[in-house]
Symmetry: D4
Subunit: 249 residues, 8 copies
């Protein structure tokens, strides 16, 4: 999508043939592995390299994707990875690979770059921790300084209120909760920076696998709250990192 002018100037000056220019204009930048088209331009286009959703990938596909992205980018983030997938990728890429069983984050290369700015990741209960850790690890991978405020659900409000100073200086807050998902609204009313709300499937019965918390957060009466998919810690961490980068640039 970029470089159109450059290509045209090369054609105009005869540095590039019409055929090559046509191909360049149309093909963009990706690696076609047959079973997948790796979006190599993404780190240029969107500031972050393509991330691998590991769950359900065939073993050989997963290894091939990690290898190719590692060659291109030097570091790769994988989400929803199993222990078994960790071993597979580790065998292929050696001890540059690390894995965290709670967040299920699998990283090849340097796990954390320099961490700058500040975001806060909050969650309502201990059952939300895996989602929270996915957000934390993702944000750190993309260079955020992260602080954690766990188990601060609204049924014991004083726990949250006692930690309120932690919000100071944060560029973004991630609010993660299941059940009735009230945490996002309460935090939204306390801070002046964006709140990214993550509904979780924690709960039972009429939580309908997270629908309850999702609707709650989408209907938040507080300002400055936006919502990502149920259990999508990764998405929240990524977005928080974007906001943090804007704030510290």
């Amino acid at each position: 999508m970029t470089g159109t002018k450059e290509i045209l100037e090369k054609v105009s000056s005869g540095q590039m043939s019409v055929e090559d220019a046509e191909k360049a204009l149309k093909s963009g930048s990706y690696a076609d592995l047959g079973f997948a088209k790796l979006d190599l331009g993404r780190s240029t286009r969107s500031g972050c390299a393509e991330v691998v959703f590991c769950e359900g990938k065939a073993d050989d596909h997963l290894v091939a994707i990690f290898k190719r992205l590692y060659e291109e980018e030097g570091r790769v983030l994988g989400t929803r990875a199993s222990e078994e997938q960790y071993r597979l990728v580790g065998d292929a890429l050696g001890d540059r690979v690390t894995y965290d069983p709670i967040s299920r984050i699998l990283i090849a290369g340097n796990p954390g770059s320099e961490e700058i700015g500040k975001i806060v990741v909050c969650c309502g209960g201990t059952a939300d921790v895996p989602v929270a850790e996915e957000a934390v690890e993702t944000a750190r991978f993309f260079g955020c300084k992260v602080e954690k405020m766990y188990d601060v659900g609204v049924s014991g409000l004083h726990r949250l209120l006692s930690k309120i100073d932690m919000f100071e200086g944060a560029n973004c807050v991630i609010a993660i909760a299941g059940m009735e998902g009230a945490l996002a609204s309460v935090i939204g009313g306390l801070v002046s920076v964006p709140v990214i709300a993550v509904p979780t499937s924690v709960g039972y019965g009429a939580n309908f696998e997270g629908l309850s918390a999702l609707l709650s957060m989408i209907n938040s009466c507080a300002n400055g709250v936006a919502v990502v998919n149920i259990n999508n810690g990764y998405g929240a961490g990524y977005l928080a990192a974007q906001i943090n980068r804007l704030a510290v640039k």
Copy 2:
């Protein structure tokens, strides 16, 4: 359902015929107006006389029902009444009839008996006030002392926290909110008495006419919270009055 023994003793002693006893055992206590069967035993059976849901009732039916219940009970509570219905019932029963256009409560006879105990009615925003007033008027009709805490939505938590002393001595709290309905959970975590949660249809979009608040409240992470139907201020007021009566008896 009651008096079986008494009836049987009369039959045994010859004071009552088999036919009369059979009829008495089977018929219970209600007034059959043709179009309706007024449950006259309810005040004995459940402690509160039958209440009239006015919305959609035919004019002559409404008047007949109010008249008959007024004769039996001396006072009648009507909910969801229109101004026009107020005039109709007023014409029939005279100035013993009062009407409140916000709660849409229509009362024949003495509106409030002696008010005892204490309940607190809270709501999240000004748009929830009609539902809150329905709860307040109902609870007062059934003899509760009621205090109000309105516009204390969780997006400005300090408003609720500044009023926290009001909960002291309450036997029951009614928490009314639309949108994400988080108020119920927050209050549930602050008090040691039952919280009756009323979801309202206030909001728009993905609130789906109150479904969002309903699911939120049903999934509350706080203890001691139970839920009534969307916008059902009457039901909450009635239940609070039952609890209050138990506490002060």
Copy 3:
């Protein structure tokens, strides 16, 4: 949230430093275990100590939480516990731990305090019994006298009607049913005390895991009925105990 005045007086009189007062005002009362913040103030604030939802807790977390709460409170209630979790907690706390495999209630310390007042727990069918037992055990843990009326579903109404005397003197009735959940409305019409309705996921097909019973109970045509989450026997037992305590105090 309490004691603000006391703290201020100590500061005013020099008994407490500004720094300590600030911390005290902000921190409230909880034990921070790292992975969890145990709400130690809850028994003061809401009359009942924090309860442990065991399902899905990591083994070491569960044991640590039980230990800490047991030290603080002398008795701990756990819900949705497995046999395996019973063994774990039993190994840590010794024979003060008891477990009921039907209700899946795990108790450390004295299971039942003195039982006062009276509540009645009803259920529609034998498949609802585990939920009913969770309600019974919870209410007993919090000091209620409980009577049971099981398998009184509305398809054989005479079973319920034959037991109707059992409601006498009850401060609260819990009505538990799956499928169409009609039991709550029928009982609501028979008693003059609060009815806490618990929809269960018992049934199949269009019961949609309890949604059918939930909607049924929320729309009850009877007065004095409020609803908790699907299968939430614990929540109903807790709320019934609150009401019972108000009534007998």
Copy 4:
């Protein structure tokens, strides 16, 4: 669908040409009015003539359909008709047309044939009466003797129990209720004949326009209960008439 053999015999014997036979075999029996195909064979095929759903029909279409069916059958049943439509059809067909504003039933010709057998139509509250009357009028049009048991909702069970003798001798019971729709299950447990359950949209909030009662009735714990569409009094009356006819034939 019928008479195949007869047609073939005529062809074999030369009484009918191949062309005519082909047409006869393929065309069945209906009147093509251009905008509609009136199913004239239905009274032969299913025992009841086609019924006209009036709501939303264009004026001239409605009149044409009534006229044509009246010519064929001698009597026509229309449902969901307005006063205005009554005047239109009355102008076209004269005083053989009758209309009931509560059930919104419009009849051309003799409204009721000889009434035989017995069905009972029950409803929960006065707001359900229009649906109940649609069922009553339909069943009567198709020759049923009908008895009514209105306003017998389960919140005052003694009203229903006091009328229990009315079920004696019935071939079918129609149970009509909105809100939580519990009436169908309660009646299903009391009678030994089929119960046709009609959910209504009566209620508000989480009744979701009748969904609550529909799910309730579909999940009935009682035997012998089947369900028709929300507010479909006509469908229940028709089906009850079929069952009644089977029983008295």
Copy 5:
């Protein structure tokens, strides 16, 4: 519910004490096994003895229920039984017990009484057969003559049309289908007797476990169609037997 008059006459004549009469009037007729209340009056009250839903019953409960009902009624019908449950009940009651693994029907005593009248059970595809067989076995248990018309889904309409003569003389048709459930409407348009529609969960994707077929059948454009729960072959067979009995009595 029955015999009130008889009891009263005995009291009047001194044959029965007031105390005994009171108990008799209140207790109805059921066997209280502790964990269950067996509805012994049901065969008197509704014409069919209580049926055992086996799925999920504890082993000892199941055996006790079968034994008690067998003693009372001489034959017992169990639905949704497993092979293992068959062995358990068989060990307890001997070779009077039979089991059909497709319908999962478990019968103690004489499986079929004399079969009278006629019903037809149709299903759309081979995957619907287990539900169909549950309907067939149930109807036969309650004395129906049953004919089967399987795999006649509407995508190959000629299969159904070629069997159309089978409907002749039937008192009731059961139409069983998953996916789009169109079979019920098509049959409803072809026959003049009641059609009981059974949606099944057969299908995938947007069938949402049978919701698609359920909505389809509830909205049928054909007359004389009523619907039971998803996969509820038993309920359809029971209701068909009621109708059949009315027709042949």
Copy 6:
């Protein structure tokens, strides 16, 4: 998206400047009216010019859009137009504008080009006719020969079967139905060409504004059936015209 090569060749040969080429490559072909971007390339890109969804458009916007498209294309199709909008556009473009109040189709310019091929548009009942006519008019606008088969709902199957010869030679069939939407499956089993199913919102109660028919059609057991949005006659007509054009080209 087209002509990339041509543009590059012009740049290479100096016929076009780099700046002009960049603009041409990036801008595509649309008319920017400020409030709207008219997609002028669509007739080249997709074979059919942009169509105007009239409902809800501001008066001046509507007229401006019609004028601009009429200038470009010579004929314009508008859907969901009101009588009032017809007058507005008619005033602006004169008597080249025609309007059909049933389908609510508004056409500027020559309404029908030469009609080729053949499609058949079927609907279940008379209430579905407006949707059917929208499909018919759309398909004709795009050059299809259309035949109509209305009021052939499956409750009177012989009506459909008697018209079965009409399917001969059709390149595509559109099946339009509300309520249970069974028509699509029945037709899908009878023809060998694509069936485009259009669910309509015709019905009431549990049809949930067309959801019932939509699910029914998406789950069709017949092959060769695909579905468009509820009431989307236009979309079906457009797609049928595409298929018809492929077949006759």
Copy 7:
């Protein structure tokens, strides 16, 4: 349904008896295996032989169906087959049977006839490939030339745009995507031939097993898009083959 005239002529000329003609007219063409009615007329009626949905079929039924259809048609297509089912059918029919574990397509006889025309099968991500392959194999079985464009999800639009020439000459495009299903709309805006959209259940959380993609595709703002069931690659392939056949005939 066909040949009515031929049969009648034979009867008229005495070549066929009335009895045989009646049977022929009524019976249509299918093989009744007892447990199933194989629709042998389908290849005549709809151009494609009956296809076997293998999932959940009993082993002996599956083998019998494959054998019978193979005898009749010479080649059989099975969908959603397991490896185990492949072995079973292979044992019965020998090496004429082939199986593809990704698409789970099982074919007896010549897998692909001559491939003509052109369709393009696109999918959004690698997790959608099994559904895509089902579409590909089905379309090839029915004689389509198929090209694949995989992993072209809209989050990296340049991948799709770089392949845009592949659409040239296609008679139909199949667009397969999970999550938000945006691919169908984007492709619908780029091509002038029918787009068959297949929502998949790929995703998590609020995708609700494919509902999200289904609603997205049904509401597509692009023209010429119609939708089949979630994960229904087979249905899309079949329909594409019908369109392709129309285009090349």
Copy 8:
């Protein structure tokens, strides 16, 4: 929530009485108008003053709220205001009040402060413009420089692609779309800054008042996308302003 330390120091130094300190600590900062509690601390706490949701407010309440906030803050933003409400507030506050009938934004005081940074507001079709304008006006009120990119729906992708340079330098993009809501995913794949997605209720049928677009956006396959409520242009504008402020500070 702030200033605890300052208050304590004053108490410690005797500058403030214990009573005043207690009140100050508890009361926070709001104006209690009786019917409402205006959150005056919000501009300090969250950087933006309280905003007035005008729809449904009583006339005198609206005027009183505007007056009070205007006095405190000097400028007030009202959303979802009617023309009539504009006149009322204008009469009270004079010509400092402006109103935009498309966005329905009502502003008292200086409508726009200095506009800094850059955000881009995109929408899919002309029917989405009111929501887009609400976002634009809100963001401008809070000091954002805003650029608009309207009518760039994905069915004519070249319109969006031709404007792609507009994203350069933006700190945040708002993507507004109804129907299938695909715009958010496509933009999410093109930019490296946060995308705030706003589903709209534009569409019909299975869009279910915006549910379709909401689910689509929540399930976006693109990174860096978060979602606000249906039609919530205000919420998106507010959040974008927060992000913009972080980026330019």
